[in-house]
């Protein structure tokens, strides 16, 4: 090569190299955008996986780790799954199913010997889902899951409504994985249910109507779509039954057995059945007159309980409740001064010194309560604090429709001499919830059965609300 050519080549090197630096500078913001939410994970990865992230194969390693996690699910090695969930979501923050499965796993699979859930994991599960939503803000799946767990697990229907509403605005993926379709119609269904659980029935009815309109529009395009037709029928049924319940509970009580046989149509504004047979007295001196609303004459619930620790950490609630079979009373025992954690970042490490017990017992023939043995699970129920709240409550919004038919959605038809308590909704215009609640403040000595629980330990609901707020574990 001639000296001149050599010199030319050397001269060309500098601008070409500067061009690569410039190109890199231009591409850097895009690279940051592409890898948003990813973490470079080296520590904690076993030898066979460590090279993957170094070679830029984070997603492949994440996939392989998730296959490993699936094996742990099959073998019941639940503790081993949590670190894998963390690593997979760091390596590939777009694995939507890993966020959802991981959160479900934390919320539902950690239980005591009697299958009572370990509720200490719920804040972590929710935080994981929120992180998943931040990294995948265009698809409905994760907000829907937050809504579902808020409703099903936390019974926090206001939070559920918020996330279901977000989910309805987002897209679902088509068969090629692109987010092109509207969120599935069941998201609207759950939104309506979350409103029903708050006693906001008129808003729920409007959502059912919205869902009906969407399904009808879909059916217009494809009348043979059996699945949509099925969903449309469900929406129509739920809208109708809610409307009739609204009429029955607050205007004139409907006999639903007669309604099923006689009613040909109903007023779409009020829910009044036609002909009138379903809501008028058929026998007795009142025959021919309309029945009063189901909630017009308050029902004396005679709610009470006399809890006893029959052995150390073994609780026998001994409760009474004048209600039909099938109503469920919630029992909670948790550290005095406990408040739900507000996690800044997801972590699966929980405070093992915390004790939170949550259970529900069915009422049978006016009685409820069975043995709650917390002695077999010291890691879940460490009882390491000096005092605890022991709360027994019945919330009509959480109960079955046939029980609600007596009380109304928000307990309007309930009365009780001692334990009726009202909970105001933070939503303007939303009805107040009337619940039955008896609260004890007990000591560790009482939990261990060294001292009895007496009526002196009962704390007025107002005091409890002031100290703990209205938020339950």
């Amino acid at each position: 090569m001639s000296v001149a050519t050599r010199r030319k080549l050397i001269m060309a090197l500098a601008p070409l190299f500067l061009l690569t630096v410039l190109m890199q500078h231009i591409m850097d913001p895009k690279i940051a955008e592409i890898h948003k939410g990813e973490h470079t994970v080296f520590s904690g990865l076993s030898n066979e996986f460590i090279l993957g992230p170094m070679l830029g194969l984070s997603q492949a390693v994440a996939g392989l780790l998730w296959i490993r996690a699936d094996e742990f699910f099959d073998s019941g090695d639940y503790d081993a799954i949590l670190p894998l969930v963390r690593m997979v979501t760091w390596l590939d923050p777009h694995e939507i199913d890993v966020y959802i499965t991981g959160a479900w796993h934390m919320s539902y699979n950690f239980t005591d010997s009697d299958q009572r859930g370990d509720r200490r994991y719920i804040p972590a599960a929710q935080k994981l889902l929120e992180e998943g939503y931040e990294n995948n803000p265009t698809v409905y799946d994760i907000p829907f899951e937050i809504g579902w767990e808020s409703s099903d697990k936390m019974k926090n229907y206001i939070r559920a409504e918020k996330w279901f509403r977000i989910a309805t605005t987002l897209k679902s993926q088509d068969s090629s994985g692109h987010a092109t379709k509207s969120a599935p119609i069941f998201v609207w269904h759950q939104l309506a249910h979350s409103l029903e659980h708050q006693g906001r029935i008129k808003e729920a009815l409007a959502v059912w109507q919205q869902a009906l309109a969407i399904s009808n529009a879909k059916l217009k395009l494809n009348p043979k779509d059996f699945s949509t037709r099925n969903l449309r029928d469900t929406e129509e049924h739920n809208w109708e039954i809610n409307l009739k319940r609204l009429y029955s509970r607050y205007t004139h009580e409907i006999n639903f057995a007669i309604d099923r046989k006689m009613t040909k149509s109903f007023n779409p504004q009020t829910g009044q059945p036609y002909p009138d047979d379903a809501y008028i007295y058929t026998k007795g001196p009142e025959a021919g007159k309309p029945r009063p609303a189901a909630t017009a004459n308050p029902w004396n619930c005679a709610f009470n309980c006399h809890p006893v620790f029959i052995q150390p950490k073994v609780l026998m609630p001994n409760g009474q409740f004048n209600v039909g079979n099938g109503a469920r009373v919630t029992i909670e025992l948790f550290d005095y001064g406990w408040h739900p954690e507000k996690l800044k970042h997801f972590t699966f490490d929980i405070d093992e010194s915390q004790t939170i017990m949550w259970d529900q017992h069915s009422v049978i023939n006016g009685k409820w309560g069975r043995k709650i043995d917390m002695s077999r699970d010291p890691t879940m129920y460490s009882f390491s604090r000096p005092y605890y709240w022991l709360v027994f409550y019945f919330d009509p919004r959480q109960t079955s429709p046939f029980i609600q038919d007596k009380f109304g959605w928000s307990g309007e038809g309930m009365t009780d001499k001692h334990y009726l308590w009202t909970v105001k909704s933070p939503i303007p215009g939303a009805p107040t919830d009337r619940i039955l609640q008896k609260v004890y403040k007990i000591s560790r000595a009482q939990v261990l059965g060294l001292e009895p629980i007496t009526e002196k330990d009962v704390v007025p609901n107002a005091v409890f609300a002031k100290e703990e707020g209205e938020v339950f574990p």
Binding site: M1, A12, I34, L55, L57, Q59, A60, D92, S176
Partner: protein
Amino acid sequence: MVTLAIAKQTLDDMLRRKVLLILLIVTVGMIAIGPSVSFLSPRESSSILRSLGLAMIMIGGLLITILSSIQVIPTEIERRTIYTVLSKPVQRYEFVLGKFLGGLFTVFVMIAAMGVVFLGVLWYQEKHLAAEMVKGVMLTFFQMMLLGAMAIFFSTFLTPVVNFFVTFAIFIVGNLSSVTESLTNNPNPATKILANIIHFILPNFGNFNIQNKLINPTVEISNENVFIMQNIVYALIYSAVLLILAILVFDKREV
């Protein structure tokens, strides 16, 4: 013409090498068994199938590129066949470029074969042509082009064994471009300077990684095609720099 003749000769030679063919067969086999993960949910299966397929193409391409590029020039010197070539009217730069292009054609053929199998597997599993995967396969090819140019450059003055480790090490560091990029904003001045040197001087192989988007179609990349073009231009310019360096070094080398 001379360059192309050398490239053709190199390609023929490479395609006869059993080790490269075995690598190709193993990689294609690994891609083909991808559907066995279908015990997961459809979305998870699809994402794992895609990520493993692209990973296999990348790993296969990496090994084929390194193994072919580190040997082309030293083998000619070791076998003394280079004397015959250079005694003819062949310029040294033509020899280097011919060897590089021969290796590049080899890598192209191998990656294309793996890509076709990968698309076939996806089509079999998902019942539609995942055409967007071509972008991933194409970017892997340009990533390998850059890697090949680097290996050729080092092969002009390093032994194949040393070259293998040096090239592989730089590939790993270059793959962490998202990490080095974030370190350029580190408050520690020493870290910041070091990160800038690594980030802007070493070839950033991580630039070519758009698997996020390909595996999870819900991920949006604004101006995706522009970004892909920028990557291709980056690979072409950086490869040119490395090849000029290779030509300059090889020109002065006593053979």
